[in-house]
Symmetry: C2
C-alpha cells in the first residue's frame, strides 16, 4: 500500500510522500490556514471522504499536517500545516506560477472556483522588489468571504479572514474577482463597471497593479 519510486533522489522521495493524487491540492488548501474536514471536502470536489481521511493520515504520519482544535468559541476539529508543511509553499507556488503563465485561459463551464485560491495566487504574483518601502494592509470582500494582504517593505502575508486595520477595502462578487485574478479584467475596469467597489487610501489602491503582476500569457494550449 506504500508504493515508492525506489530512488535515492530528493525529488523522488518528496514525490513518494506528496506526489499522490489530491495531496498537493490538499496542501494548497491548508496553506491559507487551518481547515475543517467538511471544508476540505467542499473545496476539493470529487475527493471522497475515505480518500481525504487517507491523505490526511499520511500527512500526519510525515509531520506535514496535524489535527488541531480551532480556538474557542469554534472549538471544532481542524487540520493545520506543521512548519515542515509550510515549507512546501515554494512547491505549490512554483506550480501556480507555471500554470498562470501557460494555462490560464477562460474558465471551463464546469470548472469551480474558490476565492481562497487567489490568496495563493497573490503570494505567487507578489513582486517583492516593487514593494520595498511599501507598507499597506488591504482587505478583500468577495461575497461573504473575506481575506487580507498585509505588505511591509518587501514582505507579504496573505491569509483568510478580515484585516486588522485595512488601509483600503475592495468589495466584489465571485465572478468579477475571478476575472480580475485571472487577468481577464482589471480592478479599475471593474470599478468603472460598478461590479467592484473600493474604499480607503486611493494612492495605495493604485499601487496594487504594481505590487502584483500577472505573468505574460505565453500560450493557450488545451
Amino acid at each position: 500500500v506504500d508504493r515508492s519510486y525506489g530512488q535515492y533522489c530528493a525529488t523522488a522521495r518528496t514525490l513518494d510522500i506528496i506526489g499522490e493524487r489530491w495531496t498537493l491540492l490538499l496542501i494548497r488548501e491548508l496553506l491559507t490556514g487551518p481547515r475543517r474536514f467538511k471544508d476540505l471536502l467542499s473545496n476539493l470536489p470529487g475527493l471522497s471522504t475515505g480518500l481525504l481521511t487517507a491523505r490526511l493520515k499520511r500527512l500526519e504520519h510525515y509531520d506535514i499536517a496535524r489535527k488541531t482544535l480551532l480556538p474557542p468559541p469554534a472549538s471544532t476539529p481542524a487540520y493545520a500545516l506543521t512548519p515542515a508543511g509550510k515549507e512546501l509553499e515554494p512547491v505549490v507556488l512554483a506550480l501556480a506560477t507555471w500554470g498562470m503563465k501557460h494555462l490560464m485561459d477562460a474558465p471551463g463551464d464546469d470548472e469551480v472556483f474558490e476565492p481562497s485560491w487567489a490568496v495563493l495566487g497573490m503570494r505567487a504574483c507578489f513582486d517583492a522588489q516593487a514593494a520595498t518601502g511599501v507598507r499597506a494592509s488591504y482587505e478583500f470582500r468577495v461575497d461573504d468571504d473575506r481575506f487580507h494582504a498585509d505588505i511591509d517593505d518587501g514582505t507579504i502575508n496573505v491569509a483568510a479572514g478580515p484585516a486588522h486595520q485595512p488601509d483600503a477595502v475592495i468589495s466584489t462578487d465571485r465572478v468579477t474577482f475571478r476575472d480580475i485574478a485571472s487577468g481577464h479584467t482589471t480592478l479599475p475596469d471593474a470599478l468603472r463597471a460598478n461590479t467592484a467597489t473600493a474604499t480607503g487610501d486611493r494612492a495605495l489602491l493604485r499601487e496594487l497593479a504594481r505590487l502584483f503582476r500577472l505573468p505574460d500569457r505565453a500560450r493557450a494550449s488545451s
Copy 2:
C-alpha cells in the same frame, strides 16, 4: 482517460497536466538534457514502455517536451524539453530542496541512484549570493559518467557531458559521489580517503563547499 480536477486554479491546472505518476520524474530526467527512450526507461525503474510512451505523448501534446534527433554522429531519436518545459525547473527544484532538507537519510538497500540526479541537486543547492564575482568551470567524473558546472558571477549552468575548459576536475566512484551529494561525507574527506581525486586549481576546489550548501537536516521521519 483524461481526468481533470475541474478547478479554475493555476495549481490544479498544472497538476492536471504534470501531476500523474512518473511525469515529474520524467521532467527531472529531461532537465539535464535530451534523453533517449531506453535511457529514460533505465533511469526510471518500474516504468513500463507503454506508460512511458503515454507520458511522452502527453508532454508533447502540451508542448512541454518534443521528440528530436540527437546531433550527428549520434543521429538517434531523443526527447528534449521545450522552453515551456524548462520553465518547470523551479517546480522540480522546489521538490528537491524540500526533500533534501527533510528526507535524505541513508539510502535504502533497494534504492537506486543515478549521478545525473545530483546535477539537479547542485542547481538546487547553488548559492548565487556566494558566487557573485566567481567564475569557474568544474568537471565531475563519476565512473564513466561525466558532467560539468560552469559558474559565472552568480549564475550556474550544470549539465551532462564534459566541460569545455575545466578549471578543476573531480573524479570519483558512484558510491562516494552519492555520499558526498547527500552530505554523508565531504569532498575533502573523500580526497583524504583516496576515494576521490582532484586536479586543477586548488583555490577553486576549496570554493566548492561555499558555492553549494546542503540544507541543515531537519528530521528523519520514515
